[in-house]
Amino acid sequence: MKKAKLATLWLDGCSGCHMSFLDIDEAIAAVAQKVDIVYGPLVDAQSFPEDVDVTIVEGAVSNQHDLEQIKQVRQHTRLLVALGDCATTSNVPAMRNPIPVKKLLERVYVEGSDDHARVPTDGVPQLLKHAVPVHEVVKVDLHVPGCPPSASAIGFVLGELLEGRMPDLKSKVKFG
């Protein structure tokens, strides 16, 4: 049987959603029977492949690089799943939104520095004015809220998608 192509993407989040995915524990072996993980922080793919079946994205869209990446990923993926509260609502990353970016960076890198105080600009992506949820910049096919969503919910979502069904998440997930 041809394996499905699964990608995972970590934008502005804490990796807790990826950890909750690993919390399916031994079931990862069963997942490995059915999918190849073709891209993401757990694997060494060279670049985002052309035709990915499912991409699970964790985190909000916070900087220029996140924005370019999610747009590219959307073009090459059939089903895009926003995993967790940051991808779904922008959650904790959005706590910075009322603060002007310049002020935020100066607090961390100028005030918060004993020496060589300056805002880094060389080889680092610019922050967007606001951290935004994924669906604000590209179409999302499924939202799985939770901080993080439980391992069983993630396992259920993967199982249903691999069977070709859109999962019914009623009573399986909650925010927070």
């Binding site: 989040g13 990796s15 807790g16 909750s20 060494d44 961390v108 680092v124």
Partner: protein, 472 residues
Amino acid sequence: MKRITIDAVTRIEGHAKIDIQLDDKGRVAGATLHVTQVRGFEKFTEGRPFYEMPSITARICGICPVSHLLASCKACDAIMSVRIPDTAVKLRELLHCGQFVQSHALSFFHLSSPDLLLGFDSDPAHRNVLGVLEKHPDIARDGIALRKFGQQVIEGLAKERIHPSWTVPGGVNAPLDPAVRDRILAGLPDAKAIAHRTLEFFKGVVDQFKEEISFFGNAPSMYAGLVDASGSLQLYNGQIRFRDAEGKIIADQIPAQDYSLFIGEVTLPTSYLKAPYYKPDGFPKGVYRVGPLARLNVADRCGTPEADAELAEFHQRFGQVVQSAFHYHYARLIEALYGLERIEAILNDPAILDEHVRAHAGVNSLEGVGMIEAPRGILIHHYKVDETGAMKWANLIVATGHNNLAIGRSIEQVSRHFVDGKHLKEGMLNRVSAVVRAYDPCFSCSTHAAGQIPMEIQLLAADGTLLDTLRG
């Protein structure tokens, strides 16, 4: 001059890229680590009630949320000026040990073992944990089981594996259920057997990596870690000790509230990750390392019998001060065993079931510092509040930050030795990523404030303008 960009360092926890600069002859002239994420927790927490800080700052990191919960709770304890009940101290350490086990298992098995088992030069399409599961199922299953055990300790105590709300300022919010204690104790023999088996495996193969050991950040530096009053390893309640590259103790028993006398921070123009340094030596001379290797170099002993036997062998094989960053892996395995021994010792203490686990108080001090050893090294949360308990200011110094300068130097050393700009191979760049992996950095944590190695070579003119891009 040409430049190679490893655009996203893979199998690490967070967002980073590496630029390698080449001279006209294709030799490596230098290398730069860019950490590319910033979130600004120090700023956006202003005005929040201090007792919200544990649950907010846990969201810095999903791998070690327990570290942030505990450092934050300790800072809050200091603001309340309370001494938390002894059983709460033990329960917090127990939770912390569960996290050490799961986090070290993740780093070794899920992230780094593909390099060690499948080879640094193996096919990148399979060089991951699923590839290990296929080719070395027993080792992969051990890794999954050990990580699961650590997560189950956390889940048993705190009800949730990730971002639990059990630890609170003043202690923890519920005593230990005896059934949970018994369940964890029942799982311990298997977990310890895995730790021993993995150590034996690693000790058996370590000599195959002589070249990597010699060039993976194998340079003298200072080390910093927490120890107790007798100089033994301490993960929850220790004070800072600095040891130099020759093994001499240069500062000792530094309490949390004095950290800023010894640790300064500079901003690097190329990274969202600031670089702490040993203040008495200034920047950049004051480079030091933290984390598993540093802790085992700094402490006189672990204080548990099985880990101490391993520690003695470690020093016997590689010296009293072990310098190569490759040995972070080895040190991590010894510490996983230590964590399991501590779990056993704490659970076998009858006082662990005591129901007095929380102290209550309001704001009694306008400033508090909390410090612990996170799996990746010393973690410091420093808060200032107003009379009502609203946050006025925060500073967070996170484990990976301490290693920032050392990781940068290690990348340069590996690049100079392994990367040949004229005959570039993917395995060369994977080694550059692998030295970063050895430190097990958590760039998610460190920039409170992904998977590709595109072999993209940019040909730059002397003024930095892009002339050509080659894709491998």
